[in-house]
Subunit: 421 residues, 2 copies
């Protein structure tokens, strides 16, 4: 692959916003997209004209399966008044948003567009849990994974057991990820879940007391997370709190050529690296304790950006399950293979740690409307790098940050690197 090079034309993010993530049965996908678009518009410091947009990319996994609506991009463009601009849907399962950003970067770098809207959207709550599980399983390999009953909780449970076997990780280490991400998400007004594990536990105890039920014996969060009633096993070792919820939501960012950025803001963030890789479905992998697509996408992004993993201050990574965050933190080179789980335990990836991961709450707590996720990751990077993340704000300068967006059973990964000058 010959993509290890700087972009021929610099690309800047000059606006970013998202709808709240959650369950919104009274909103369609196009309405969620419109809410994200409005939030993005409101984020543009110097004001703007929608007429400046040259092209639209929409990351979406499967509006067909979730809403019986294909041809998603012009529907979204129409919903926000951007017809007749070219609008294109990008689908790479849960990495659709990341791949859409990559197409936006190319559109600008190619000179074929100056201002590009990149959005992501998914409206999943119209289906029940079994239907959603089936719809998502189609992002794996239908013939060799789904047909064998290998749906996503099982896929990531297999990764977790492989990782545990090789590196000595215990289920408690996965729980650390959930505790950390709930702590972050509780500070994110756009997040689906707004409570820390501690708060959830305290509420349940209070409810039991009020209803005259026997009081749970939880002394701390770990007790709560080990309890098969409060945190049932989904696919061992993964329990309910190891899994992302079913979510509705949208996210939008506005990209422009570096030389145009000052028209929109004095505080742009620059995309200096973009890497994407494909892989076989997980069923064909020989190593389940890491994902090659993640490693290669990160390497390609670092090579293009000409920076090292050690220079990145924080990252939003694809924690569709708690194990996925640990594996991702190693795949992007933050930590050596087999050490990521200890970094969570030691607080290194906490908001006030040396290498914060998923300050937004991650997919786990913020929610995971799959096509929106890759774009929403950039919304967090935008707020953090500009010092606008409120109670979640990481201390000190953030000159470099990274997003890692995974699709399917590891068959796509997209990594972007952002710079604040």
């Amino acid at each position: 692959m010959r993509e290890a090079r700087r972009l021929p034309r610099g690309v800047a993010v000059v606006g970013a916003g998202m709808s709240r993530f959650g369950v919104f049965r009274d909103l369609t996908g196009r309405e969620l997209f419109a809410r994200a678009y409005q939030a993005m518009g409101a984020s543009i410091d110097k004001g703007w004209e929608p007429g400046e947009i040259d092209a639209i990319y929409v990351g979406n996994y499967s509006s067909e399966l979730f809403e019986a609506q294909g041809h998603t991009a012009p529907i979204a463009a129409d919903a926000v008044g951007l017809v007749p601009r070219p609008a294109t849907r990008i689908e790479n399962a849960c990495a659709s948003g990341g791949s859409a950003i990559r197409q936006g970067v190319m559109a600008i770098a190619s000179g074929m567009a100056e201002v590009v809207l990149v959005g992501g959207v998914e409206r999943m709550s119209g289906l029940n849990t079994v239907q959603v599980t089936d719809a998502l399983a189609a992002a794996g390999d239908t013939l060799y994974e789904m047909a064998a009953g290998f749906t996503f909780p099982g896929v990531f449970a297999a990764m977790a057991t492989a990782y545990m076997h090789r590196y000595g990780m215990r289920p408690e280490h996965l729980m650390n990820v959930a505790i950390k991400n709930h702590a972050n998400g509780a500070l994110n007004p756009k997040a689906q879940f707004t409570m820390t594990i501690q708060e959830i536990m305290t509420r349940r105890i209070a409810a039991a007391e009020q209803n005259g039920q026997p009081l749970p014996l939880w002394k701390n969060e770990m007790d709560f997370l080990h309890d098969d009633t409060s945190n049932p096993v989904i696919a061992w070792p993964l329990r309910l709190f190891d899994c992302t919820p079913i979510s509705d939501g949208g996210a939008c960012i506005l990209l422009t050529a570096e030389e145009r950025a000052a028209d929109f803001t004095d505080k742009p963030i620059y995309i200096i690296g973009s890497g994407q890789a494909s892989d076989t479905a997980l069923a064909e992998h020989t190593d389940l304790a890491g994902l090659r697509a993640g490693q290669l996408a990160a390497q390609a992004a670092y090579a293009m950006a000409e920076v090292k993993a050690s220079e990145i201050r924080l990252a939003e990574v694809h924690d569709c399950f708690t194990i996925a965050e640990i594996v991702a933190s190693e795949d992007i080179g933050f930590f050596e293979p087999g050490t990521g789980y200890r970094m969570v335990e030691d607080g290194v990836t906490a908001r006030d740690g040396a290498r914060p991961i998923n300050t937004s709450g991650g997919l786990k707590t913020k929610g995971h409307p799959v096509g929106a996720t890759g774009v929403a990751q950039v919304v967090e990077i935008w707020e953090q790098m500009r010092g606008e993340a409120g109670a979640r704000q990481v201390k000190g300068d953030i000159p470099l940050a990274l997003t890692h967006n995974l699709g399917g059973t590891g068959a796509t990964c997209v990594v972007h690197i952002f710079e604040r000058r």
Copy 2:
């Protein structure tokens, strides 16, 4: 929109091939993609190495609905051994293939890739006709078209009646399109339908004779096409032979930077114009006798290429229904609005006419595996421009040619212009 400009870096097509189109219930989408990939590889004059490919784009409308398989691009890439290269699915309904080509052009023009595989695939025959009609209807606007029963035959029938009312066209003029495209398709070994209307008619008469049934009274093709038994009304004025079939198939082309083309062939064709536009769904259109997305996409492509419609020798246009070809021939500026149907009648768009349209047989006869269609159009252009179209070959030089790929109920159109130097 600021895309009216020459590409910053020239892009050449250096290989093109397709699977046969038809009904192949024993083949999966990935297998059809692999067949197209093999045919493309065989078309490369100087040989090549798959390892040279930097990126893959796959046009696909809805493998989720047709095959319960999402995440289509890495599945396709894996099927032909191209993992771990970045692979991305592009969805714009029936214009998915055209939009995929456009992304391939941008990938090269941006300098982020040197050699790009663009494929398209759809495997539709796993569903029955009603299911396929529903799946395709999701490419319109589910809320405002599909919910009102406005499926595709009805959509294009509405366009046909509007056109007839305004311009005086009669159903016979639509039949002329079918007769012409069957004549072309009968000469295309990759086409789904291999007989002219005359041959189909003659066979049916012979079969009736053999079975001792009353002989049909058809004197010519028009009699056959007017007969409600041999050519039943689907959505008036559209009859069976006005509609594309349900098809399985794949197509692939190989793109590279202009300066690299000679590594692959001494007879490349160059992409000098790319235009794409979006629109509202048809239900919101005030004018049904033309499609604005088609007009704008063509204008953008001509502006980038710096050529006029009158300079284009031949075109492959999106004849999902016979009326669509007539409207497209006007939208791309070949003919004045309201005159296209007479050009078919006068033989202007025939293979030996002044402005041949759909020498491949078009979607009507070649078949319409929807995600593959936009790429398969380029396969025909490739063969025609290089003088390799066999019995279908248009006489004389073809310095400039065009593809027109429509999606949904007119909400996307992509036009590309090709040059042979």
